[in-house]
């Protein structure tokens, strides 16, 4: 029957995805341009042309130029988070003493809205790049620590017993058992951490900087240039997706046993 056939086509994953997207864009176009004032959410064609214009222009108010400081600061903060958060998470997971003495503070800071620290960070670092990098680091280090820690703690008793039976101790235990067993959690930590780093860089730039995507977001907002503002948001979205994808690739490359064992993580 014809209706059955239509249903089958709809159930195809790609057809459904594309169809929803088209409907979404068309509705947005109509609502954003005719029903609402375009100031509120603008509409797809205006955003597309703003995106195109900003993508080819140069200088402070463009998409390419300000991306450079944003990405640099994101990766500087993220890098520091890996350097400090990863070993700290491992140590907290392995050492009972460290866990008892440090974990309450880590947990307290983990649940604190860390953006509340920005005024304090300004007192420490003033306004400028060091303050932005520190904010980025401060936002992204906790997911790194906590995920790694949970990963170490999640290692099953039977794995540790097995290590003991086969006399795998000390550094070998760390290298052959603890680190690989924790790896999927480290990947999850990296994913959350890089996302937080991007948030940190953008927020810090909104407050502390006269350059970067964070800064031009505020600027476009101040001038009520909604289409341009949306174009920057879409660029950030794309950056976020690409970063996530990169971490996913890393996970699949180095912890494929986990992916295949449990289907999806």
């Amino acid at each position: 029957m014809a209706s059955n056939r239509a249903l089958q086509i709809l159930q195809n994953k790609w057809v459904a995805t594309i169809l929803t997207f088209v409907i979404f864009v068309v509705v947005w176009q109509i609502v954003g341009s005719y029903i609402l004032n375009p100031l509120f959410i603008s509409y797809p064609t205006a955003i597309a042309s703003a995106f195109a214009r900003l993508a080819v222009s140069t200088g402070q108010y463009s998409l390419i130029g300000p991306t450079v400081p944003t990405l640099l600061e994101t990766f500087e903060g993220f890098g520091l988070s890996i350097l400090i958060g990863l070993p700290l998470g491992l140590l907290l997971g392995i050492s009972r003493t460290l866990d008892i003495s440090l974990n309450p503070y880590v947990n307290a800071l983990y649940v604190t809205p860390r953006i509340a620290m920005i005024p304090l960070i300004i007192i420490w670092f003033g306004i400028g790049e060091p303050a932005i990098v520190f904010t980025t680091f401060f936002l992204s280090v906790f997911p790194m620590i906590v995920n790694t820690y949970v990963g170490v703690r999640d290692i099953s008793k039977s794995m540790l017993d097995t290590a003991e039976v086969f006399s795998i101790r000390g550094l070998r235990r760390f290298r052959y058992v603890i680190l690989p067993a924790t790896f999927p959690f480290i990947i999850a930590g990296l994913r959350l951490s890089i996302g937080s780093a991007l948030v940190g860089a953008v927020v810090a730039q909104m407050i502390l900087s006269l350059s970067g995507l964070g800064y031009i977001l505020t600027a476009f907002g101040d001038f009520f240039q909604t289409a341009q503002l949306m174009a920057v948001i879409i660029e950030l979205m794309i950056i976020g997706v690409i970063m996530n994808y990169g971490i996913d690739l890393l996970g699949k490359r180095f912890a494929d046993w986990k992916v295949t064992e449990r289907g999806y993580r």
Binding site: S158, D161, T162, E164, V165, F166, S167, P180, K258, T260
Partner: protein
């Protein structure tokens, strides 16, 4: 005696309660070199605790365990263990898993051992696979190869077939017997399955309910080599099974 277990007692402190749970109440038995001794008893009687103490990853409260007159005080490569839940490291390939207990050996020697014992359990060609790509029965054979690769004096087997299906278990029993016979290993074989105990062992140590004691030690003199279906058809098999049932309190 090659393996001597002498008056081993073990209690566990129950968390949040003051009372202790006594699991083992003076277990004694011994095993000659090259003998397969089964430990059988009702579930919860502390068989696994006993084998963990033998492996050195659990400490007894009192009593002693000696292997070739050396007191067991912790884990060591003179004992290999096969686990009920296989416990392979999922991030390692099969050959890495088999070689994990012999990291101290020179590379060459290690490679050779891995090869030898993978061949002994008929898993040549699976060296580069990961555990999740293998069936349960195959994973347990890797577990056996890993324990055997230590070339231990004593092989400890903790309900090795409890997590594979009945058909696979029968095949594994035959394979295990061949490995035991070929290597003349001394084996402590923990099981809750009567047929497995009868089929696999030279002697059967019957434990009581918790706190467990040794009720009886049965000699199992069924002729060797044994083959699952032939051995089960022998009249002696039926007799031994009846004795064992009585001993476990399942028949009068």
């Amino acid at each position: 005696m090659f393996v001597e277990v002498n008056d081993v007692k073990k209690s566990f402190q129950m968390s949040r309660q003051k009372e202790t749970l006594q699991v083992l109440d003076g277990i004694s038995f011994s095993a000659d070199q090259g003998e397969v001794v089964s430990i059988i008893g009702p579930s919860g009687c502390g068989k696994t605790t006993l084998v963990r103490i033998l492996a050195g990853i659990e400490k007894q409260d009192s009593g002693s365990i000696k292997i070739e007159n050396h007191e067991v005080t912790g884990p060591g490569s003179n004992r290999g263990m096969v686990f009920q839940t296989f416990n392979l490291f999922p991030w390692m390939t099969i050959e890495q898993n088999v070689g994990i207990g012999i990291l101290d050996l020179p590379e060459e020697e290690r490679k050779k051992r891995v090869e030898t014992y993978l061949a002994m359990v008929n898993l040549q060609g699976f060296e580069k696979y990961h555990p999740h790509q293998l069936s349960g029965g195959m994973q347990q054979r890797v577990g056996v190869a890993r324990a055997m690769a230590l070339e231990p004096k004593v092989l400890l087997v903790d309900e090795a077939l409890a997590n594979v299906d009945a058909q696979t278990a029968e095949q594994l029993m035959d394979q295990l017997l061949q490995v035991f016979a070929k290597t003349k290993k001394t084996v402590i074989y923990v099981t809750h399955n009567m047929d497995e105990a009868i089929y696999m062992s030279n002697r059967i140590v019957v434990l009581s309910k918790r706190p467990s004691k040794v009720i009886q030690v049965l000699d199992d003199e069924l002729p060797t080599p044994r083959w699952e279906k032939d051995t089960r058809a022998m009249p002696e098999y039926g007799q031994l099974r009846t004795t064992l049932r009585k001993s476990l309190g399942l028949a009068r």
